[in-house]
Symmetry: C2
Subunit: 293 residues, 2 copies
């Protein structure tokens, strides 16, 4: 079996360790990052080379992975002048790990097909820690054959990997996740604000209720940092704002009323204007605590 | 050791099996229920006798348990003409399992002390099934000595039993629970409404995301019935309305803004006017699905 050639575009908090796992698995890697110094650093940490553009990185790749910021970044590194589509080989697969719109996923699927290659949208969850430990959840959209072909490679950094349906379905699933998180975290924030104002021992409260009907991953993993007013970790409000904007646009398209999600997106906008764009999403509590009563 | 005498006031969905567990444990039971036929039925199912009034039930009791509907019912069976306080013996303990206000808990604590007896507020969670299986969570408020004295008896139907602080603290903890549930269930409902409108396989979506940051007891235990549009089970909207009204009044008192909880209470009011007072709280999805878009 000949060595697999892969490109990885976007060496951010997530992409950097993800590309690293592929390199460590013996895949011949070519990486690209907008800030070239970071790509150079990556080649000092891992075996592989870096390319001056997405097109150059993708030129000889069997698999091209992307993990960038948003729809605009994604269109630029794929459909732009120096983008991946300029060189993506016939039969190659483009795998997009960006949390983006379902629309751009369908666009890239169509563009890939047009040149005889394949596309998979594959947003992840599990955060920086999941990327470092190789324990990400990966929600895929695309056809079965493409999914099966890429699956063994995804397993180098993914744990729960699922094909959700045709192109765009990975993104739609990630949106469901973010909608559920928004209501959940606000409920937790209101509950904790109440517990503190009521003079309860908040730790004891959550020990007591976290096994029952109010229990959640967020309650188990965030109540302590919320009690400690610590938000310099986790999933940043700026990213949540981006994701919720995507959800709300798609909800208009598919006719879903999201009254509370919409309002929580506004709460996150307030947190941004409080200077909290980099705070964890659980900082909804800090916002509540600033409201004059 | 002489036999423990206990009274149980209120043989509803929860109280009926709870009193049954005490009878089966060998405690000499006297029960009271507003609808006398139900008390008569209870004495056919379990060893024990029934009394014509709360005062009569409590007359010779070491421990008096109450599990009724709301603050008004509770005041009536305790402070009313035929209420427990008429006969509650010096040294006896009054244990209230009603989900009620912290205010009425403090009132009953004061009234109990005045006649040399003791009080514990002890709202439960775990539902009808928890009451039947003896697996309830019990959140207690009161003093340590009273709690330790009652604990072995509570263990006949409770699993996770905790003393949360002074009188009223059990109720306040239950309120935190209900506030967390409200936001959580609306988030889940909005996520599921979106998933269905997006054409996703909703079962597969929840299998995929329930282990991560969006995961919750509600997601695991309610997604299937929500997908099936089944709400004839679980915790009724009428009861949730009552509980959230209590939360919102207490939040005004302790200065906690609960913007989303307040709005979800309004959503539940809408469900009541749709005829859904007996539906499970997860019927927030059905409300979303009725909104014209």
């Amino acid at each position: 079996m000949s060595t697999l050639n892969a490109a990885f575009i976007g060496l951010g908090t997530m992409g950097y360790p993800m590309a690293g796992h592929l390199a460590e698995a013996g895949i011949a890697m070519t990486v690209y990052n907008r800030t070239a110094q970071r790509a150079q650093q990556w080649t000092r940490d891992y075996p592989g080379s870096h390319a001056p553009s997405p097109a150059d990185a993708a030129r000889h790749a069997d698999l091209v992975f992307i993990c960038v910021g948003d729809d605009n970044d994604l269109r630029q590194v794929t459909l732009g002048d120096d983008g991946v589509m300029q060189t993506l080989a016939k039969g190659a697969v483009l795998v997009d790990h960006t949390t983006a719109s379902a629309e751009v996923a369908r666009e890239l699927d169509a563009a890939s097909r047009k040149q005889g290659s394949h596309f998979l949208d594959a947003p992840v969850s599990g955060g920086q820690q999941g990327a470092q430990n190789g324990q990400l959840s990966i929600m895929c959209g695309g056809d079965e054959a493409t999914y099966q072909r890429v699956l063994p490679t995804l397993q180098h950094y993914g744990k729960a990997i699922n094909l959700m349906g045709p192109a765009g379905s990975g993104q739609l699933t990630k949106m469901v996740n973010q909608i559920c998180v928004a209501g959940l975290v606000e409920g937790l924030a209101e509950g904790l604000a109440f517990a503190l104002n009521a003079g309860l021992d908040a730790n004891k409260v959550f020990e007591t209720i976290s096994q029952g009907a109010a229990g959640s991953w967020q309650m188990v993993n965030r109540h302590q940092t919320m009690i400690d007013d610590q938000y310099e970790h986790g999933f940043a409000v700026d990213w949540m704002r981006k994701d919720l904007d995507i959800c709300l646009r798609e909800a208009v398209r598919n006719g879903t009323p999201l009254p509370i999600t919409e309002q929580i997106n506004d709460f996150y906008r307030e947190i941004q204007s409080m200077g909290g764009g980099r705070w964890d999403t659980s900082s909804l509590l800090r916002r509540l605590q600033k409201i004059p009563t």
